[in-house]
Amino acid sequence: MSEFRVLSKQIIASNIKRMDIIAPAIVQKARPGQFVVVMPTEKAQRLALPIVEISAQKNAITLIFSEETLSEKALGDLAIGENVHVVLGPLGDPVLEDSEGIVVCIGYGLGIAQALPLCRYFQKKGNKVFGILGAATRKTLILESPMRVACHSAFVTTDDGSAGKKGSVADMLRQLAAGHQIAQVYVAASTSLMQEVASFCRESKLKINVVVKPLALSGIGFCGTDEVKVGKKYVLMSSDGPIFNGEFFDFNIYRSKAENLGV
């Protein structure tokens, strides 16, 4: 149960890697939207990373991450066949509400890796799924092909117009909302972008869920570094996250927690 091995890895965009890690016990129980805490080596810091794919055939989970922090670099440096010191999970309790009609899943940057399993989930449930993919530039745009497969329609935007439409994912949502009856929206992006999307949805009376970048240090509910506020209630990301009602999610508290953890 405790041995985790790198099965494959590849560079999928500028500074972004995809890694498959053998983790049989996690594969058996993981649900879309959950995450893991990873410690690449004994001396590395702990990273909270979303589970992007679960392969029962390979007994592996897929992680996608940028190589910015020392720990992320240490993870990226692991060779195929090497052991990962810790993979703790699956963590969180993402609630995916079943609903009739169109579900829009928005991902910006690495957020697309969190949007993808949700698109697949809702497509399987029979919903019409619109995917909105955003990135700063073509070089940092990830998972375009699998998102196109997982969605009925996928729309690409980049900040500089190097791929898809020039503009933001929020603008694309506004356009879609003008022409379609949307049942619910999921957004995985930077805090400010999620706030913008949440604010638009609130005004337009659209059901909004934010899929936040997971925070966790211990992952076992001990240290409280993953405490966030939704409405009047405080909850822990490792037990209740990382998908929250965007109407009531307290972005300021999340932002300061993320800063504290250097996320």
């Binding site: 810790v86 076992i220 509910g221 001990f222 409280g224 209630k233 037990s239």
Partner: protein
């Protein structure tokens, strides 16, 4: 017979403040024998009544007197398998009960004697293993959590002849003994030796495994195990003191302890911490306050502790307070931290406090704020202690487990059995914050109950 209590050595304050090594140095053999000779060997020993684990204290002290520390260790281990830990962290209710403690006398230093027995009388683990290897039953028990309660229960159950597997969500065992307790209180080599001892008895440890998520308790019972003990200890109390904690630079004691004690593979001095600045105020009348204070003092910080009560209300020993003050801790007693004051960019710059004094409150003598006694302590960071609640997450995935009004896992009255057949809960998860020795006693009690349950089945 000598009547003067033998003094135990400590690292000098000026030296110890620069390292994370153990502060209290313990008795050498000669000192241990000398202290043991003060024991009156009472016919009806009060100390044993005072010990929640029920150690035969006069018995092991008698063996120390005879100079046989190895036999003394075996004697303690009949009741307490975690001697090295208890000899360092125990709140020593036995010493309070000691007959010599009456009338202002000085009780026998039982805790230090227990530690000396572990440090100096350690016998080869193989001997114990051989002694225990026989008489194995076919019963398998899963213990969730490898803290004091889980380890104690495991040792007792293995000694009763059962097969025990401890599951831990982290990659190292020890629970709060590891991430809640710093090196200067409990050296890692002692903790590891105690865990190795429990392992050597025949316990299997499985790490990085979150029971409730990768396997439910029902699955454990269905497939592999005859009984399950939940000993998940304490977790973070969400929402507690939340409004004040929103100020930047305010962190919880749990975060500090976890980062320093657990995540610092290069040693506590090199722990990765959020920016804390130089002046740190610690608030919260909690058992972990001195742990945090003394870590920060060793990291070169100026530390002030705001304590709401008198020395009679300390959640840690008075000795701990004295040692911390020698190390440079500023003690603001009879004071209450009211507000954490932010600067113009929202980061904490100070703590507004009020003085407290005893006054009449509805006919009761209580500590009350003194009018116009506000004062401000400058601070670059604040550590809030005591944000603990029982870690009951496993109950979410287990039908039939209930949480009681206090937020603990519900167990039958005066028992460890839960409402689910074959599932037991002990320690902080079922009782709230406990002293080390009470957590150990819970482990022992749970082991006895589980053994009785398995014998019946």
């Amino acid at each position: 017979m000598k009547n003067n209590k033998t003094t135990v050595g400590v690292q000098p304050a000026a030296k110890r403040i620069k390292n994370f090594s153990e502060v209290v140095l313990g008795f050498n053999k000669k000192q241990a024998i000398q202290e043991a000779q003060r024991c009156l060997q009472c016919t009806h020993p009060e100390c044993v009544k005072g010990c929640p684990v029920g150690v035969d204290i006069p018995g092991f002290i008698r063996l120390i007197r005879e100079g046989d520390l190895a036999k003394a260790l075996q004697k303690i281990r009949e009741d307490n398998s975690l001697t090295g830990i208890c000899g360092r962290l125990c709140s020593a209710p036995c010493e309070k009960a000691c007959i010599l403690n009456k009338d202002g006398g000085r009780p026998i230093a039982i805790k230090h004697l227990e530690r000396a027995v572990f440090d100096l009388g350690n016998i080869r683990l193989q001997e114990i293993f051989n002694a225990q290897a026989s008489n194995k039953s076919a019963k398998k028990i899963a213990i969730i959590g490898s803290g004091a309660t889980g380890l104690m229960a495991a040792a007792n159950l293995v000694e009763d002849g059962h097969h025990v597997t401890i599951f831990d969500a982290l990659d190292q065992s020890g629970g709060m003994l590891r991430y809640g307790t710093c090196e200067f209180h409990l050296p890692r080599k002692v903790l590891d030796a105690q865990i190795d001892y429990v392992r050597s008895l025949g316990t299997t440890f499985v790490y990085n495994t979150l029971i409730g998520q990768v396997k439910t308790i029902h699955e454990l019972l269905l497939n592999d195990f005859h009984a399950v003990l939940i000993a998940t200890g304490l977790g973070f109390e969400t929402g507690a003191d939340a409004a004040r904690r929103q100020v930047k630079g305010v962190i919880s004691s749990q975060e500090l302890l976890f980062r320093v004690n657990f995540l610092s593979a290069q040693g506590p001095a090199k722990a990765v911490l959020p920016p804390l600045g130089q002046k740190i105020v610690i608030t919260g009348n909690s058992f972990d306050a001195m742990e945090c204070a003394r870590i920060l003092l060793r990291l070169g910080k100026k530390v002030t502790f705001v304590h709401e009560g008198s020395d009679e209300d300390l959640p840690f020993s008075l000795e701990e307070k004295v040692l911390a003050q020698e190390e440079g801790l500023v003690w603001e007693g009879f004071a209450q931290a009211v507000d954490f004051l932010p600067n113009n960019v929202g980061a904490v710059k100070g703590v507004r406090c009020l003085r407290l004094d005893f006054a009449d409150k509805d006919g009761e003598w209580a500590l009350m704020p003194v009018k116009d006694s506000d004062f401000i302590l400058e601070a670059d960071a604040v550590v809030v202690c005591g944000l603990y609640e029982a870690n009951t997450l496993v109950a979410r995935s287990t039908d039939g487990l209930k949480i009681n009004k206090q937020g603990y896992l519900s167990v039958k009255k005066d028992q460890c059995a839960t409402g689910v057949k074959g599932v037991f809960a002990a320690g902080a998860v079922a009782q709230g914050v406990l002293s080390l020795v009470d957590a150990l006693a819970q482990g022992k009690k749970a082991a006895n109950e589980i053994d009785a349950y398995l014998q019946k089945g």
